[in-house]
Subunit: 367 residues, 2 copies
């Protein structure tokens, strides 16, 4: 089987995303794409027992150390990042060394942030082992950790030298985690590519069966779409924010329920439904569009309703979100399927109605 | 009195360094150069009682919060940086806010690093209150904290929006701190500008008396020289390393004696003497050049000898230094006064002889 390659064009920081089955066993591919002779692999207690040894073996003659962190978003902290730095120092790794992240988005974010900060920046290679990380963390250069009071508050932009997205490692992923990753793929369709929504409807079975070809297509298209958006706006001044469709509402869900209770993709799924609902109230999306989104999410077993934390609490939690400019919450809304826009001049009635509909216990959902 | 201005040319990240007396009281200057409407001032327990209120007053109508950290290099840790992040979050500061560092290099490095990481980068303004910080931290964009086992191991490149170097605040600086700052000015002369060495010899009295005009000249020339070196090599791949003259030896001194026992500038002073000695052994500097350096350092009350920690211990401590490439220690040496070079193909005999001469209890100094 051929492998897919997406080239992220960032001048001197350009890098490839390689997508295909069993890439972590492909010694010659790793030899071509991982230049550093000294590596620290960062992984977690779930992923390391499955893949660390195989990957280490494929890395051949290099000096490869490792640091294994506990699994889970609750460990995405400055303290865990400091443990990676400790390991880099203990193993006396210099500026020519690289950090290799073997794990999901949490591991990638922390390992990337440690690489960004260690000696003010060393190389970083990603081997994402969740679908979410393959379609989301592979592009954009965002790294970082959470603050006890808000997600992703501490971090850096740091581009990887390459991303190795092995479709086969996704087979060991828990069903719920896998489906949460699909939420982000649906998001790419919603904001930029209505044809991807068609494909998802047609290929749901193959994708849910984790067939290599289906995953390869979905990951490639997702990375291409994200790259297209990020290329225009690398530092997230404007357009890039459309990638946050569903995230502002989703963050409120994740924070209110405690990190890790809802998976990120699940919160994004429910958040997208709220964003679609609000878009409908503003006269953008049709009711049929909202129904189509809900049907698609359900097809992949994703939540389409928010927990009833109360509209006011949701609003409060959204207030500390990064996407606030001068106190005004900017939201990603949908003029139509396959097209998104960052909006701050919406009527607060529409926001209030959507928040009440989805977050209040007695909220009246119109659909 | 006119103020001096050095413009650091970095494209979209260009910024001015303003140098002159009582600038922290200059409301119109601050209004022109500090754009953010929301600020967090980061200071320490020594500087804040002296200048925080004055600065806050001059910042006028802005929303200005503050966080006061304990004073000292031993507090330049990831934990202190986290306290700054906590304050940013507590005060609900967004991406449009700025961090203002009011203090010496430690405060500047930590505040700059927190600004670099908060929401992946917000604005940062420096008000350096030590001579060292004015001549060193004002240019180069280096921010960061120490690791318990090695200095400056964790950090980021993050350029300030402007630097306000008030010459008058230096009057409250302890004599020893002030003199340590002069060591870095001497360094700029040694690596890039023999005429600055002449000026230092002629102006020693005025500079030691902390006369505004003398400080303004010394700070301006230092910033200009550092800027010229950094402009060629922003990310420290090659030439920029000449700014580390005396630092590799100095780091060994600082680490062996425990952070804070020797002031950074003092360690650099002694380190420069060792670098000069080694340059002489390699047939570069003349004995008279070394003597001139020693005389100049002594004129400013700076140490010209290293603590006798043993040559082997010094070597070990230099091994974990950032300036190691592929296991080979690169050193900054002096072909002549006013000119420096990064060298890795020196004879190890010359290094050994200089290390023994300065670090061994019974070392034989030739001068």
């Amino acid at each position: 089987m051929n492998i897919e390659q997406v080239d992220i064009d960032l001048g001197v920081r350009s890098y490839p995303i390689l997508i295909g089955p069993d890439l972590i066993d492909d010694e010659s591919l790793l030899a071509r794409h991982v230049q550093a002779r000294n590596l620290l692999i960062v992984s977690n207690t779930t992923v390391a027992p499955l893949y660390l040894q195989r990957l280490q073996h494929s890395l051949g003659e290099r000096r490869v150390g490792s640091v294994i962190l506990p699994d889970g978003e609750q460990h995405k902290t400055l303290e865990s990042m400091a443990l990676i730095i400790d390991a880099l120092i203990e193993q006396r790794l210099n500026r020519d060394a690289a950090v290799l992240a073997l794990g999901g988005g949490v591991i990638g974010d922390m390992a990337g942030f440690a690489a960004a900060c260690y000696q003010r920046g060393i190389d970083y290679v990603q081997v994402p082992t969740t679908l979410l990380a393959q379609v989301d963390s592979s592009v954009g250069g965002k790294t970082g950790v959470n603050h006890p009071q808000a997600k992703n508050m501490i971090g850096a932009f740091h581009q990887p030298r390459c991303v190795i997205a092995d479709t086969r490692v996704l087979r060991s992923l828990a069903e719920r985690e896998y489906r949460a990753g699909i939420a982000e793929i649906i998001k790419y369709g919603m904001i930029h590519d209505a044809a991807l929504l068609d494909w998802l409807e047609q290929s749901a079975e193959a994708l849910l069966a984790r067939e290599d070809e289906a995953i390869m297509y979905a990951v490639r298209r997702s990375c291409e779409i994200k790259a297209a958006v990020v290329a225009i706006d690398e530092r997230e001044q404007g357009l890039r924010a459309i990638l946050n469709l569903g995230h502002t509402f989703g963050h409120a869900i994740e924070t209110a329920t405690g990190y890790g209770r809802w998976l990120h993709g699940e919160a994004v799924a429910a958040g997208m439904v709220i964003a679609a609902d609000m878009s409908r109230r503003l006269g953008w999306l049709h009711e049929a569009d909202c129904e189509r989104l809900i049907r698609l999410l359900r097809r992949f077993g994703l939540p389409v309703d928010a927990p009833h934390i109360g509209a006011q609490r949701a609003r409060d939690l959204m207030g500390l979100d990064k996407k606030v400019l001068d106190g005004r919450i900017r939201l990603v809304l949908l003029p139509q399927l396959g097209q998104a826009q960052v909006v701050s001049d919406y009527t607060s009635e529409a926001l209030d109605a959507s928040l009440r509909a989805y977050f209040d216990p007695a909220g009246e959902r119109r659909i």
